[in-house]
């Protein structure tokens, strides 16, 4: 193998590689711009914030992606071996400072811009009037507990858990507050009312994920995690498990119903009766 042989066909290969880089760049940008695969419509204010930040990130990374890939393609063609001497240069400090500063400002600016939505979601607790619902993950189903008319969650005890008898959470029926608690396999919430989810797990780690809510939250054994949101659009949405929890991980699903207030009250009554 001589350097002469290595250079053979460089023109064609350089053009082909540059073409490929252009193709990859433009098809990627096309798919993003046309939103061929995209998030479903968001149904919470948090969702709108997340989407806005996603698009900001997409624009900035898109510019860098475009410049870097096409710069690479251009250099390959423009500076292919023509049997001359290469330019002798060890670099350029001004350029280094320029692109270090530019990327630092862009990337850190982006990171700082992302914090506000996160802070609203996690640093502020739910308002006092929020509807509280407990979410408990187990292999491989979701349990949702409503406190009932008294508004108080009754006592639970892991020792009382009996899936066979339908006591998935170990409700202690000797506690008066537990008697009106409602435990169901689906989640219904009223539209335009703040909801606070109290997330727990019985066995291993799971993750509560609803695409339209634009968040997921792990449910962790031994931990109680609270999240809150207000859904502004009625409909039926799918709940999926997003943390590997065992052999049935892929089928650990349920439904979220966002209902008008009266339908929500009806739903609650029906569930209480069938229980």
């Amino acid at each position: 193998m001589t350097t002469k042989q290595a250079g053979v066909g460089s023109g064609l290969a350089a053009a082909a590689l540059a073409f490929l880089l252009i193709l990859i760049t433009f098809s990627t940008i096309y798919i993003f711009v046309k939103r061929i695969w995209w998030f479903p419509e968001a149904i919470t204010p948090l969702g709108a914030d997340v989407d806005a930040q996603f698009v900001r990130t997409l624009v900035i990374t898109g510019i860098v992606f475009f410049l870097a890939q096409l710069g690479l393609g251009f250099a390959i063609v423009r500076y292919r071996d023509r049997g001359r001497r290469a330019v002798y240069s060890h670099g350029n400090n001004k350029l280094e400072i320029l692109w270090t500063t530019a990327t630092a400002i862009m990337f850190l600016g982006l990171g700082i811009a992302a914090e506000r939505a996160w802070a609203r979601f996690h640093f502020q607790g739910a308002s006092p009037g929020a509807l509280q619902i407990e979410v408990v993950g187990q292999q491989f189903q979701w349990n949702f507990r409503y406190p009932g008319p008294d508004g108080v969650f009754g006592r639970t005890d892991p020792a009382l858990i009996n899936d066979g008898a339908g006591n998935f959470l170990g409700l202690d029926t000797s506690d008066p507050a537990a008697q009106d608690d409602l435990v169901v396999p689906q989640l219904a919430i009223p539209v335009n009312r703040e909801v606070e989810l109290i997330l727990r797990a019985k066995d291993v780690t799971h993750s509560f994920f609803v695409r339209e809510l634009r968040f997921k939250q792990d449910t962790v054994p031994g931990l109680t995690v609270r999240v809150h949101f207000t859904a502004t659009k009625t409909g039926k949405y799918e709940i999926a498990c997003a943390e590997l929890c065992g052999l049935g991980h892929h089928r650990m699903r349920s439904d979220l119903f966002v209902l008008p207030p009266d339908e929500y009250e009806n739903w609650l009554r029906q569930q209480a009766e069938t229980e």
């Binding site: 350097t3 042989q5 290595a6 290969a13 350089a14 590689l17 798919i31 995209w38 998030f39 997340v50 930040q53 996603f54 990130t57 900035i60 990374t61 992606f65 890939q69 690479l72 250099a75 500076y79 071996d81 290469a86 330019v87 002798y88 240069s89 670099g91 350029n92 350029l95 692109w99 990327t103 990337f107 850190l108 982006l110 992302a114 996160w118 979601f121 996690h122 640093f123 292999q139 009996n162 899936d163 170990g170 291993v204 780690t205 993750s207 634009r214 997921k216 792990d218 054994p221 031994g222 799918e238 999926a240 498990c241 997003a242 590997l244 065992g246 052999l247 049935g248 991980h249 892929h250």
Partner: protein, 590 residues
């Protein structure tokens, strides 16, 4: 290391076993590591193809094994990830090429601790055997997956900690998995000590730190990361083993009930495992990719016939990436239940890694700029590395922001991201290094024509496999799903899965070209009679191919200049070796 007054030639030990099996020669050990990774990568590829097949044809009957169950899929996934991350991406770029070329590139006769080096390899080998043994024990999902565990390469607790009650493979299979990683971590610690000591103590006369090739910098810094990271993995693995076998509760809290059975642990924390695992696991990403960055820099400079653009900036960027890489593990845990306040720090530190990564990218393009680019196969793979690194790096900026991570976490977006950067970019680094150094290692060339076909199919293939994963991740497809029929919104992504599976099979098949080229090259490849066929400048090109037992036959070179002196004005040749005396005279042949 000072040059000996009189050359002292160390002969290779006689006898096949001391020379090739239990060898203390860093070059043989490097090749052993490489072959171990080669076997592992094909196991890993086969596992991934079986998974891809299952995703589009869940009811198909596999020869011998029959229909694959979801738990078998998860076991294949666990083993694919583990084998690829540890036995391929950690092994080939660092332990394989690093072992072979670090001593030669700094002008040393061997590693600082040759016997420790041999021990590192054989413990790694034992780790692989123990890992593969998990396929053959009882209590697993059976079929094609045998006894392998189903908890993923991250082995989150409590799933991995409470034994077979949590699922198939979580008994003996999981125990072997942990033992294997503990062995691997121990071996990596020994290797890291060797790399660090060798780099600091055995450099030849004139080889100042700032004259080291960027490959050496990358291996050196990777070794520091490995020392800090694998120590924590080893500790975490031992604690997990104790939870499983000795009744301790480091990672399992009180009150767990699995299928109506109470788990007798109390006081542990699942998040503790995640912190310890990712304290190792994030640096591990850089352990896999930094050597590829070093190789890419080295090859881009060589085949552009240009000095590396911004050598110092490249060195500082490696350190910055490593330092930041040690302090960002929490970005894997934004939705884990960890304090949301710490997410802010982890996020901004992670975004900062984009800066040295961008410096490296721009410097690579700067190196090409104004060059005389020769598109050898090694060069094609190095350019491919840059493209994949850009793509995979930029998708990291999405996941680094807790706000954007909320929907994207644990979806295929993450799978696409880390396969692009830590998977295929690192693999492109390995391929580039293989095509580049093969003539030095074996005295023969790989076939360039087959190599180029291999490159084109692989480059197009990996984009076709992993780019769509980002899109279906944005759509909301959770990762680690054995089956896409239960969750209803996944149905419309079926065509994308089919596309990715077809791309995976074509790309997988193209790797047979590489395998053929590799073994054909060993015995039948064109002889590399010129010791410096690429007209390169670093020390490995001043010694015979393959180099003798102690590399320099006792005549240790003196280094007069930096590693990337290409196209020096006034020089007769367009490359000036590091050993060319500082007389202003034209460079000699070697």
């Amino acid at each position: 290391m000072a040059a000996h007054a009189h050359p002292v030639v160390h002969e290779a030990p006689k006898g096949f076993i001391r020379k090739y099996i239990f060898s203390t020669d860093h070059k043989i050990i490097g090749i052993q590591y490489y072959l171990l990774a080669l076997v592992s990568v094909f196991i890993g590829i086969i596992l991934s193809l079986l998974m891809r097949l299952h995703l589009i044809a869940p009811t198909i009957d596999l020869p011998w094994f029959g229909q694959m169950t979801p738990e078998q899929y998860l076991a294949l996934m666990t083993m694919h990830g583990t084998i690829m991350v540890f036995f391929v991406l950690t092994t080939a770029p660092q332990s394989g090429f690093g072992n072979y070329f670090l001593p030669i590139q700094i002008g040393a006769p061997d590693m600082a601790f040759p016997r420790l080096n041999m021990l590192s390899f054989w413990v790694t080998f034992a780790a692989l055997i123990v890992m593969l043994a998990a396929f053959f024990v009882a209590g697993g999902p059976g079929g094609v997956a045998g006894g392998a565990p189903i908890s993923g390469w991250t082995a989150y607790t409590p799933l991995s900690a409470i034994g077979p009650i949590a699922g198939p493979g979580l008994g003996m299979g999981q125990t072997l998995w942990i033992l294997s990683l503990a062995l691997f971590a121990g071996a990596s610690l020994m290797g890291a000590l060797n790399f660090i000591t060798t780099t600091l103590d055995l450099r030849t006369k004139g080889m100042s730190l700032m004259r080291m090739p960027l490959t050496v910098w990358a291996w050196f810094v990777t070794a520091i990361l490995a020392l800090l990271g694998f120590a924590v993995l080893l500790g975490a693995g031992i604690l997990l083993l104790l939870d499983r076998t000795a009744g301790t509760s480091f990672f399992v809290p009180a009150g767990l009930v699995v299928t109506d059975t109470q788990i007798p642990h109390k006081g542990g924390s699942p998040l503790l495992w995640q912190h310890l695992f990712w304290f190792f696991g994030h640096p591990e990403v850089y352990i896999a990719i930094l050597p590829g960055m070093g190789v890419t820099s080295h090859i881009l400079s060589t085949f552009s016939r240009k000095p590396i653009f911004g050598y110092r900036a490249m060195v500082y960027a490696i350190f910055a990436i490593a330092l930041l890489g040690l302090s960002v593990w929490g970005h894997h845990m934004f939705v884990s239940g960890m304090s949301p306040y710490s997410a802010l720090a982890f996020s901004l530190l992670t975004m900062s890694i984009g800066v040295p990564s961008a410096i490296k990218t721009f410097n690579w393009i700067g190196t090409l700029w104004g060059g005389q680019i020769r598109l050898t196969t090694a060069m094609l793979f190095a350019i491919g590395f840059v493209s994949l690194f850009v793509t995979g790096g930029l998708s990291g900026l999405f996941l680094a922001q807790p706000t954007v991570d909320l929907p994207l976490h644990d979806t295929y977006f993450v799978v696409g991201h880390f396969h692009m950067i830590m998977g295929v970019a690192a693999i492109f680094g390995i391929f580039a290094a293989t095509y580049f150094w093969f003539p030095k290692m074996f005295g023969r060339f790989l076939n360039e024509r087959i190599g180029k076909i291999h490159f084109w199919i692989t480059f197009i293939g990996v984009y076709a496999i992993f780019m769509p994963m980002h899109f279906i991740g944005i759509f909301g497809h959770p990762r680690r799903y054995a089956d896409t029929t239960a969750v209803q919104f996944l149905a419309q992504l079926d065509p994308v899965h089919t596309f990715m599976t077809v791309a995976a099979f074509i790309t997988g098949a193209a790797q047979l070209l590489f395998l053929f080229n590799f073994f054909w090259g060993l015995w039948k490849g064109e002889k590399a009679s010129d010791i410096n066929p690429w007209k390169a400048t670093s020390l490995e090109w001043t010694v015979p191919s393959p180099p003798p037992h102690d590399n320099f036959q006792g005549r240790f070179p003196t280094v007069y200049r930096g590693p990337y002196e290409y196209s020096v004005p006034g020089a007769a040749e367009d490359y000036t070796p590091q050993t060319a005396p500082d007389t202003g005279q034209p460079a000699s042949r070697h």
